[in-house]
């Protein structure tokens, strides 16, 4: 990777940014600590801001769900806590002071969100609740949190997986915290779900998209420098790697805007080059 003039995080950031349309509303939580924070918060914020500064000036950022269009160009580090004065005093356009707040999440106000879990399966279900049987779990995790809403009330979800490993990419999750495409779009309809569902699964190795008829994850692109075998070996469900394009490299101009205007203090993601 070191041969590339950009980091994998920059690659993903640019790919995400290009997928956002002008006028959309994007929601991201404030995760803290290491790779999770990078994939759930840093990359999404950088991607949304890059979109705002290029083709999507009317995109709305919902940071931690409640700080609307925050201005983080001056910060040196992401705040480490959601509900402390630091984030309260981060300049922004509007704040949610009470629930339910100034956007109507269950009317479909949120176009896309970013979520993660310890497991994702081929149907795009994600799990943040437990490993093993729910009633007698091998490992009990934090719970579903907002994932049910991410996967059914938002219009689409980017599943962000900081570790692409067989144990995380499974045939069937042990618990469905957020529901994907079981049975495809018809399956979601039958479950009473009218909008939403996973759009991509983003990993350090590749990007998945979904066959919405069959309800199966399939590769959309493999990152530069990553071999198809590596991707197959890291994924616990069968995938086709033939003919999958390489994730489009960011242009020099995109990188320049990202590094100089979006994240000048490297507070959001690691940067390469220069």
């Amino acid at each position: 990777m070191s041969a590339l003039p950009y980091t994998i995080e920059e690659l993903i950031t640019v790919a995400l940014a290009k997928s956002f349309k002008d006028g959309e509303v994007g929601f991201t939580g404030l995760a803290t600590g290491g790779a999770a924070a990078l994939y759930i918060t840093g990359i999404p914020l950088a991607a949304m801001e890059l979109a705002r500064q290029t083709h999507a000036p009317n995109l709305t950022i919902l940071l931690a769900g409640w700080s609307i269009n925050p201005d983080f160009s001056e910060i040196r580090n992401l705040p480490s806590a959601e509900f402390d004065s630091g984030l309260q005093n981060l300049p922004c356009e509007a704040q949610m002071e009470s629930y339910p707040g100034p956007y109507a999440v269950r009317r479909g106000d949120v176009d896309f969100g970013f979520g993660s879990g310890v497991q994702v399966d081929r149907a795009g279900n994600i799990n943040s609740t437990c490993i093993g049987d729910y009633r007698k779990p091998k490992v009990r995790l934090v719970g579903s949190i907002l994932l049910p809403e991410h996967m059914t009330c938002f219009r689409r979800e980017y599943i962000m997986m900081p570790h692409h490993e067989v144990r995380s990419f499974v045939e069937r999750v042990d618990y469905v915290s957020g529901v994907g495409y079981p049975g495809g779009e018809a399956g979601r309809q039958a479950l009473g779900l009218t909008i939403g569902g996973p759009e991509w699964i983003v990993t350090p190795k590749c990007i998945f998209e979904f066959d919405r008829v069959g309800g199966r994850a399939r590769l959309r692109s493999i990152h530069p420098g990553i071999g198809p075998d590596d991707v197959r070996r890291s994924t616990g469900f069968a995938i086709e790697t033939d003919g999958i394009p390489t994730t489009e490299a960011p242009t020099a101009e995109e990188l320049a805007i990202l590094r100089r205007k979006v994240d000048p203090h490297h507070a959001l993601i690691p940067h390469g080059g220069e």
Binding site: E97, A104, R106, R107
Partner: protein, 299 residues
Amino acid sequence: MGRTSKIASLQEAAAIVRDGQRLALGGFAIYQRPMAFVRELVRQGRRDLTIVGVVNAIEADLLIGAGCVSRIETSYVGLEKFGLARNFRRAAEAGTLDTVDYPELIAWDRFRASQEGLPFWTCTFLGGSGIVEYNKDIVPFDCPVTGRKLWAVPPAAPDVVVVHAVMGDEYGNVAFHNRKMLPQSVDITHTRSCDTIIVTVEKIVSGKEMKRRPDLVEIPALRTTYIVEAPFGAHPTSLLGIYDCDDDAFLDYAAASATPETFGTYLKRTVHTPGDHAGYLAELGVERLLALRNVELPA
């Protein structure tokens, strides 16, 4: 690429309301009503509107008197201390207006149902009331948990919501009073219950100025369709802390609404002849507007 301005003229904003739509007008009773917008709707001759509201007053009565409304869903139509809403009363008695009654809190909850994307709001206390005897949009059902008798009340489901507020920016961020009262609370709920939101404001300020108090921005730009500058846009109703109710104008209205004929003359004088909101304000005159204004020492 630059960010899109959502500034529109009153004429442009009113033009997106179509005949036959469901319209919710912000404010509560005789407080903080988007009256400049209402007068523009009358000028544009809108017809067959359904007014959906919580506690309605002059904003509804004026539209009814101008022939714009065929149905109203609310808990109250009246002018409080200024008496009955006579256009409303006449139309209801003549059978030209379909009146659909709801209890006050449930009328409010209907907007919450729309905000929450719920197919209905659950009500426990309607048994024996005229509400359920006559309002067939309310569906009785048995509680799936307790078996108790319940009623499913339909969401407000407005097609267009219009509120009048103090200030906003060109992108459509709109701030509310720090110390709110119920008219402001109605407005906030209204603007979350619908995807076509028109906000008239006393003043459009810069985005930078708005960013000083992001905690007071209750309508974020993402929800706003149009923002319209309409100073004294609630007149003759009051705007809390900005200007008082114009009692004389209300008394004039109440007297003029005594008959269809006198009300026709009133509409001609106060709505059609002035031609637009600027003309309306000019007609009122500087002295009168300034007398209604509230002033306090800058913080």
